[in-house]
């Protein structure tokens, strides 16, 4: 009862156009927004890690890890298109379509390999000399997304 009465009184007191006092909120916004705009980073930079087989460490690393059954997947990037080679599977080469690489079918083929050898993590990318850096980075992305995080590059 008490609550209802006081509520009723309050509502009556304000009439029908009750308004919030937003001045404090505005003040916070006016300070926060310029601050955040100044510190905002719109271009984010990240990194792709790539390790070469090192010259002096390789023997010790090979001793420490028992040799696993290695599935050797090689992805060639040619001017004309992709060629994926995996043991026991012969994938048809993927020629360029309308002067762009056939990304969808590359991902399809990579996923087929991943299904066949779920444990395999490694892939070797072998681009031709004239392939653009941009293309190589995109290929590395597709490989990583398809489940091959250990990417090596071969000349």
């Amino acid at each position: 009862m008490n609550l209802k009465q006081s509520m009723g009184r309050r509502l009556k007191g304000h009439g029908d156009d009750a308004e919030l006092n937003l001045t404090a909120v505005m003040n916070i916004f006016l300070i926060l927004i310029p601050f955040l705009l100044l510190t905002a980073v719109f271009v984010r930079i990240s990194v792709l890690e790539l390790a070469l087989p090192s010259l002096d460490r390789k023997p010790s690393a090979a001793k420490a890890q028992p040799p696993k059954s290695v599935v050797l997947n090689v992805l060639r990037i040619r001017e004309t298109g992709f060629e994926l080679k995996s043991p026991e599977t012969n994938f048809s080469p993927l020629p360029k379509k309308n002067n762009t690489f056939d990304w969808e079918r590359l991902v399809e083929q990579l996923k087929t390999v991943k299904k066949k050898y779920p444990d395999s993590q490694d892939i070797i990318i072998a681009p031709e000399g004239s392939i653009k850096y941009d293309t190589i980075v995109s290929v590395m992305d597709r490989c990583r997304e398809s489940g091959f995080p250990n990417i090596s590059i071969s000349g």
């Binding site: 009439g15 156009d17 308004e19 937003l22 909120v25 505005m26 916004f29 926060l32 927004i33 955040l36 705009l37 510190t39 905002a40 980073v41 719109f42 271009v43 984010r44 930079i45 990240s46 990194v47 792709l48 890690e49 790539l50 390790a51 070469l52 087989p53 090192s54 010259l55 681009p127 031709e128 000399g129 004239s130 392939i131 653009k132 850096y133 941009d134 190589i136 980075v137 995109s138 590395m140 992305d141 990583r144 997304e145 590059i153 000349g155």
Partner: protein, 171 residues
């Protein structure tokens, strides 16, 4: 009295209604809506770390979906004309591509010097990290693999085996 007159004339001119004389409130609701959306967006894109890596403006990095954070290392920048090590020009790209030699002599020499310096610093105090074999490569997206291969080979020869390819994050 004069002020009151002005106020009444304003009221007549615009047809603006006031609940009480003397108490004037702005309608801020839509502005608050806008600010709230802005605030959420800015808070989402806020990063406390700041930028470790600075990229020169004529370098267009390739885009990638990678989310690994960059590390503080020495940087090899490859623009469309020059190869730079930590901002100092080392060799012209024409000169590199005109030879059949896969090792880039000048870059090799600079890297050997850099390695000696970092090893020296590492020897002075334990707090310094010293030589870790890491190097960042900031390449323009138009450079060819032929050039990239030579740079990587040169780095590998000196002992910089972990290469971090700097890319722009998509989305």
């Amino acid at each position: 009295m004069k002020i009151e007159n002005e106020a009444t004339s304003f009221k007549v001119a615009t047809g603006f209604k006031r609940s009480k004389r003397g108490s004037f409130t702005l309608r801020l609701t839509s502005m608050i809506d806008m600010f709230t959306i802005l605030l959420v967006f800015l808070l989402k894109s806020y990063s406390a770390e700041g930028q470790i890596v600075t990229v020169s403006k004529d370098l267009r990095l390739p885009e990638s979906t990678s989310e690994l954070a960059p590390k503080v290392t020495s940087v090899i920048s490859v623009t469309s004309e020059w190869v730079l090590l930590d901002g100092r020009p080392v060799e012209k790209i024409e000169n590199i591509l005109s030879t059949n030699n896969l090792l880039i002599e000048k870059l090799h020499d600079s890297l050997v010097r850099l390695r000696a310096i970092t090893e020296g610093i590492g020897g002075i105090s334990d707090q310094m990290k010293g030589f870790q074999g890491q190097i960042s490569i900031q390449g323009d997206k138009e450079i060819t693999f032929d050039l990239l291969k030579r740079i990587m080979l040169t780095c590998g020869q000196v002992g910089y085996n972990n290469m971090l390819l700097t890319v722009m994050q998509k989305g």
